[in-house]
């Protein structure tokens, strides 16, 4: 009995010391999350990232592994965020053809939406007495998560909290979006999609694609433009506020 336990402990020490464990954990958790998402017919609450984060967190707690150790292995996945951000240029480029005719209305709406998303979140959180770490993480939360985290780093606020708020924002936007737009009596698909993409980035965009392809195209355009403009303007806005 004892030698067996020793052997298992040895294997465990070996595995947890290499990046393999963190990588397997991350990808398996995402796979399970993605499966749940497909099984529930892409219901926003069953967001694959949210499920995966929950599973990984539980797993780390169970095996008593500190987050820093996990991140050392998972940083290889994390690194690709930058590369994925650059590759967002391709979908933005594809959406550009529809942009030209409606450039001014789209940009004005995006700027108004972007400013409102920051001012309302920071305002409500400040009013209700949240602390500075949390408030700082609200600045970039409506921007697509990979860009939001880069912006958060430059602002000197927590990229982690920003990413988590961005994901929750996306889920909320995807869940509430259709109801809000119906209440407002919005009929044009492109306007509905653009509003979803502005407020709820990637998660809202995939929701918009599920509802109507034109809404989806405009949502991904909104997400891309919000990402670029956010990265350029949010640091300026934060200094000003």
């Amino acid at each position: 009995m004892a030698p067996d336990a020793l052997k298992i402990a040895e294997i465990w020490v070996y595995l947890s010391g290499s990046p393999l464990f963190a990588l397997i954990l991350t990808l398996t958790a995402y796979q399970i999350g993605h499966w749940c998402y497909l099984k529930t017919d892409k219901y926003p609450l069953f967001n694959p990232v949210a499920i995966a984060v929950l599973l990984v967190a539980i797993c780390l707690f169970v095996v008593d592994m500190p987050y820093q150790t996990y991140f050392q292995g998972a940083q290889f996945v994390h690194f690709l965020l930058g590369t994925a951000t650059v590759s967002l240029a391709v979908p933005i480029y594809r959406g550009m053809s529809s942009l030209k005719a409606r450039l001014i209305p789209l940009l004005v709406a995006l700027l108004c939406g972007g400013v409102v998303s920051i001012v309302s979140a920071v305002g409500v959180a400040t009013f209700l007495g949240a602390d500075a770490t949390i408030i700082g993480a609200f600045y970039a939360k409506s921007v697509t998560a990979p860009i939001a985290m880069g912006v958060a780093e430059r602002l000197g606020v927590s990229p982690t909290l920003t990413a988590v708020f961005a994901i929750v924002t996306g889920i909320l936007g995807a869940m509430l979006g259709s109801t809000i737009l119906n209440l407002l009596g919005m009929k044009q698909w492109w306007q509905r999609g653009f509003a979803m993409g502005t407020a709820a980035h990637g998660i809202g965009t995939s929701r918009a694609f599920a509802v109507h392809p034109e809404a989806g195209t405009y949502a991904s355009l909104a997400m891309g433009l919000h990402g670029i403009l956010g990265a350029l303007l949010i640091p300026l806005l934060k200094n000003y506020l």
Binding site: V49, F71, L81, G82, A84, D131, T133, R192, T198
Partner: protein
Amino acid sequence: MISGLVQILLWQGLGELVSHFLLPIIPGPVLGLIFLLVYLLIKGRVNASLSLVSDAFSQHLGVLFIPAAVGVVLFLPQLRAHAWSVIAALVVSVVSTITVTAVVLRFMAKGDSSGS
């Protein structure tokens, strides 16, 4: 596929360099995105290898922010203490952002009746 990945990594590298030496306020990958976008606009088309890599990334973008998002475990006590203000801020912000964007867009696009 490899040539697409190489292109993206080169643009990312250029973005990082410019960010580091010239424009420290903008993250390197975002500059890389802008450079690649300008390049595509000049060239006028996306080659197959590049769109293959880009589609693979955007389809499963979510998996890439799991490592950072799991860091939320470090903030749990803080989040628990401020749970209501966080939830209120997020919900109010989402509702008002969608509302303002949609209403401004409808107002600005009144003349646009193509409806496509």
